[in-house]
């Protein structure tokens, strides 16, 4: 018994991502649900159509989640199947690898999204299409951010190897409290608000609520979301190339999967 305990203890203590994984799940869950509870306790009349707004935001968030995880899954599949080396010795440019993953992740996310959208109408009498033409921009913005997170995590996998996998699963939850998915930004403490304004998520979800509750459109929110998406997308691509360069120096590419 002690031997089995030691086997896992050694594994955890030798991997920073695994230690981080242990610590931040409870922290994130408590933080996120703390803000949600706080919001509903102090703003009982904020939502006239609470179910509609919450469900719409949940579907939008799920699309983001599926896009990001979908991208990571494509990368992780190659590691799990020990096919990673085959892929990286094929004559493909890094840009080509990224482009094919980005397109495949979109198809995966749409396959997951369509049933969810169709179910909300018969089950809850709600249609996400109430967001109108701006729904397209919100989805596009979420897709860009999901892909960006996917590329950032894949860069980590290239750089640190499979132990970075746990981070892949939890990136979205780490950002959830700052994304203001289910509550307005004002509910966050001031320091957190400053961080939240650096993310495109807050503009996307603020705008979704604005359209559904106030029946108005604030183009500035959509513009801000795309601006931050552009910044992070370019950074993620640069980081991926850098990680590939470092992986070639450190030998991560030939040890991947072990």
């Amino acid at each position: 018994m002690y031997g089995l305990f030691l086997r896992h203890f050694y594994l955890i203590t030798r991997s920073f991502p695994r230690i981080l994984d242990l610590v931040y799940w409870p922290t994130i869950q408590i933080t996120l649900w703390g803000f949600i509870s706080n919001f509903f306790a102090t703003h009982t009349t904020y939502y006239n159509n609470a179910v509609g707004v919450i469900l719409t935001c949940a579907i939008l968030y799920d699309f983001l989640f599926r896009t990001s995880i979908g991208f990571n899954m494509l990368f992780l599949e190659e590691i799990w199947s020990r096919n990673f080396t085959n892929l990286f010795i094929a004559p493909m440019k890094i840009g080509e690898i990224l482009t094919s993953l980005v397109a495949t992740a979109l198809i995966r996310a749409l396959i997951g999204l369509i049933p969810a959208v169709l179910l909300t109408s018969p089950l809850f009498g709600i249609s996400i299409l109430d967001l109108g033409i701006f729904l397209f921009f919100l989805f596009l913005s979420l897709y860009l951010f999901g892909i960006t997170l996917g590329i950032l995590v894949s860069a980590g996998l290239l750089r640190y190897g499979p132990s970075f996998e746990n981070i892949a699963w939890s990136t979205m939850f780490l950002l959830a409290p700052f994304g203001c998915i289910y509550y307005p930004i004002e509910i966050l403490p001031e320091v957190f608000q400053k961080i939240a304004y650096l993310l495109p998520l807050v503009y996307i979800f603020e705008e979704a609520r604005n359209i559904l509750i106030n029946q108005t459109v604030d183009i500035q929110n959509i513009y801000n979301a795309f601006m931050w998406n552009g910044v992070y997308f370019v950074l993620s691509i640069a980081l991926f190339y850098y990680s590939f360069h470092v992986a070639k120096k450190k030998g991560t590419l030939i040890n991947m999967g072990e």
Partner: protein
Amino acid sequence: MKNLVEVKNIKKNYGKNEAVKGISFNIKENEILGLLGPNGSGKTTTIGMLLGLLKPTSGEILINGQKLEGNRIEILEQINFISPYIELPKKLTVKQNLTVYGKLYKINNINEKIEFLSEKLRLGGLLNNITGELSSGQKNRVSLAKALINEPKVLLLDEPTASLDPEVGDFVRSFLEEYKKEKKISILLASHNMNEVTRLCKSILMMKDGIIIDKGNPEELISKHGRKNLEEVFLKLSRSKNELN
């Protein structure tokens, strides 16, 4: 015969650890070069550098006259690799896997190529089977088919017959001999199977601690070291201090 692979004084350091300490060798067209050495001698690192998966700390690699540095994609079109430590996606059928790699290597006549390779490698009845459900010998032949899908000029083999039964091992060795003769390709064979190396290779490099400690053809090495076979030469060199630099 021209040199298809030219390795010029390559070194690879991982931090302070010197995995490869400046080795040079060539592989001619229509030649199989054996790369021998104990575990940790630098063989895998050398293969990694030839595949462009590892950047040499210094030195230069040329494939078919082109520098690897700066021409990675063009060179990867001309080389391929198999190892028992890497696999093809398990859930795909054999044909799906070969089609995927045919596309990645930009092969035009994929179906013809798959048909040709499946006939040569006895894969005919396996094309619609799930790759993960194949035996070790069958998987090995599928990996070999994948490695030949682009008709590589240079083939890198890391223990290509490890874990195979003698019959399949012999089939793979015979196939490689015939294929090399027919296509005049260069093969780098890293193996711990001394009989295999004696049979396939006209020249051998012995590596230890990141350097080449001896080289020559199998008969020369056996006679030079006064041993009965290559395995005894390997044991002598592995246990001795480095002889050549």
